[in-house]
Symmetry: D2
Subunit: 247 residues, 4 copies
């Protein structure tokens, strides 16, 4: 028994005398984590330390982007001119995809539009939709909220965009690359515009694997959805169903 | 007199039969403006229509950028590691500059940092400052608020950034260029980092006139402030005092 | 007195019934110039001074982008894996469109891919096409040259890109915006990838008018071409034939 | 039993006392690989395959950026208005730094300005320097060539920029990140403009280590050089001499 104590104290001394990495772990361990082992940073700055333990494994380099799942785009009750006809139907699939992502410890990013009431930060061809402080997905108005059944949880990330692509004039690539994210799973609306532009930009930005869940994305009409899926396949994008992806 | 009435009715008919531009003006005039004349859009989308009438003149192509005037940067009471030593002293000058800008109808943009509690969207070398959901200018915490005495008013624009330059991975250039902004007036903290990076990016992005108000910007020390002002002058940046600029 | 009123109303009617160009001049005149004659800039800040006098008129704010009209993309004799099936057929239309553009004094931009022999600057999913210093559109090799019948003339601009969109990681937007370009006419190959990505980016970047010449662009198959044209129309893109545009 | 414990603790101590490289391998091993031998990628997605075997080791994640070492900037014989007073003196140090980089298998990137003869792609405040098809570093003219003694070798990369920062509107970040480059060593001219802007952008883009060789970079005057070096140090940039770096 004394030898056990000796060993333990010896270990403690060694641990404390080691470099900043260990002090870093110890600090984290004392203030919350519970275990030192699974949190292995790739460097001094430990960009992935905020993620769950599950993410330290197979899914640590994957992020899910949920695009434009806001009331003005998918809830017919809003009467928005921006309603995507096929949008409401995929809300349950999107919710399910997010649940799978969380279970796997995948980094969850909610990409939303939030526009100035004047419309001065929206595409030129849509500015006529803004007047009197109202318009599609104006920041603070109901239409900009997530569709019923979808919620941002602690640890998720909310990213505001003002154009089609989630990468256009945003810090999305910055926040993904710095965490070592190499693979993207994309859900939401709508296929020919915001989904496709985000996907093509992701390929241009060298994400190694870009996955579009074919039944958790939607367009105004099925033929438009499928024509765009076909084009994306030709540039190496994978397009499984939610069921196929969750296996 | 009947001929007057005839003329007026004739004019009305003509006005109403003219194209969408005039209908647009008429609508605006009826719902607020008071005058048709000064609101002359450069095109169908009328990007400047949200601005005040004063801006339709000399200052319609100018925007003021107020950089990082947040408690964690300029309020010593916060005890933030990011405090800029010279920051508190320029708060009154910044407030005054904003007042002048509003008077002139200049587009006012509040550029602020708002970081994730995990610090995962901050520069690598500052991530150690974030733990337990706290750190400099974390979104929602007091340190991210504007310094006492500064307020965002209706018609102003708030822009969130995550790096030094207000243009890095943001839609600032998009929202300025689409409004026809060509000239920038820059105030805030701190000169060698966020001010200078914003200024150099503005020159790279071809803003025609970039003005730094020398006494409404600050650094940790006066010599650092002045060395950076000197460098900026060499690339065509103007550096008047607030008094000189307001004349 | 009534004759004065009649005169005034007459003038007002004339002013208001004229097109946006006049309004534009009127605005300039009100806000400083003193003359409504279009100000052709001269001297140091004269972004348009290099253009022909013809361009000072109606077409001074228009640029033509010719995308990827290189041998490896449109010349079957090259045997390139990147050959676009419908490409060769539109070479004459592209040549004709360029001729019309030059006649009108439109700024002509040749957008081409030129890759490192190693392929290290190409999309990840195409890197296997590069080995032994060879691969599609490698800088300096024959496949990177313009298709027979197409030539870069003095005054044209050559822009090298490494991804689909002509705007991705290039200074195209910089060189266009600084010249006051607001309208784009786009020709070349291929519709679902490089054409469409350039077009969507152009809309995101607030070019006021984006025109795709439907018979001077091509894809692997007509149905793919048309499905993409359909999508582009929904975001305000104009898609005339060359004949319609040249009228 | 105590001997088992002793063995285990001994192993643990060994593991923990080793450096970050081991932790890195351990992580890979835990999350899939099965082997802790560094995985040198091969095949289609093999971004580093073009580099030398030497680079597969310690320096495979480092690139050297040589900025603006062109005759118009550093050769007084050119009589260029863009001459950097301190530039010529550092040519030998730059050449030496490049030699060291090549020896180590570091990816060498020559960043140069090449402007249109019209000057339409240069900063607004410098356009008056262009006329008659001449001006600083015009593409194809002698002033755009590398300074005597500097050469681009096979395997190096040439990157053309049109503004201060090597990252502004170029595909530099794209070509570096896709090769797994995390550390940058920067040499060239001039410190307050092109060097500093490249450095700040590199920090904003999350390169893990940014090194400026203090005696292989230069400005118009030593005090300007040193003031900028001081500012860069405050944002985590390392500033060794060439001798210190080559050790």
């Amino acid at each position: 028994m004394p030898s056990h104590l000796a060993l333990l104290s010896c270990l403690l001394v060694l641990l404390l005398s080691l470099d900043k990495f260990l002090l870093h772990y110890l600090k984290r361990w004392l203030s919350g984590g519970g275990s030192i082992i699974p949190r292995i940073p790739t460097g001094a700055f430990s960009p992935r330390s905020h993620r769950t333990m599950a993410a330290a494994g197979k899914w640590s380099e994957t992020a899910m982007l949920i695009i434009d799942m806001q009331k003005d785009f998918v809830d017919p009750a809003m009467g928005s001119p921006m309603l995507v006809a096929g949008g409401e139907a995929v809300v349950p699939a999107v919710a399910e995809a997010v649940a799978v992502a969380r279970e796997r410890g995948i980094f969850v990013v909610w990409v939303v539009r939030e526009h100035d009431p004047s419309g001065r930060d929206v595409e030129l061809f849509r500015r006529h939709l803004y007047s009197g402080g109202k318009g599609p997905t104006v920041k603070g108005l109901k239409g900009a909220e997530l569709a019923d059944g979808l919620f941002i949880k602690e640890g998720d990330y909310k990213l505001v965009k003002t154009r089609f692509s989630a990468f256009f004039a945003t810090h999305l690539d910055s926040v993904l690359k710095t965490q070592g994210i190499k693979n993207l799973v994309i859900v939401g609306v709508q296929t020919p515009n915001c989904i496709r532009q985000t996907v093509y930009d992701a390929v241009e930005l060298d994400y190694e694997k870009v996955i579009v869940l074919i039944d958790a994305t939607a367009a105004a009409r099925p033929d438009i959805h499928l024509a765009n899926i076909r084009d994306m396949k030709t540039i190496s994008v994978e397009t499984p169903t939610l069921e196929e992806w969750r296996r």
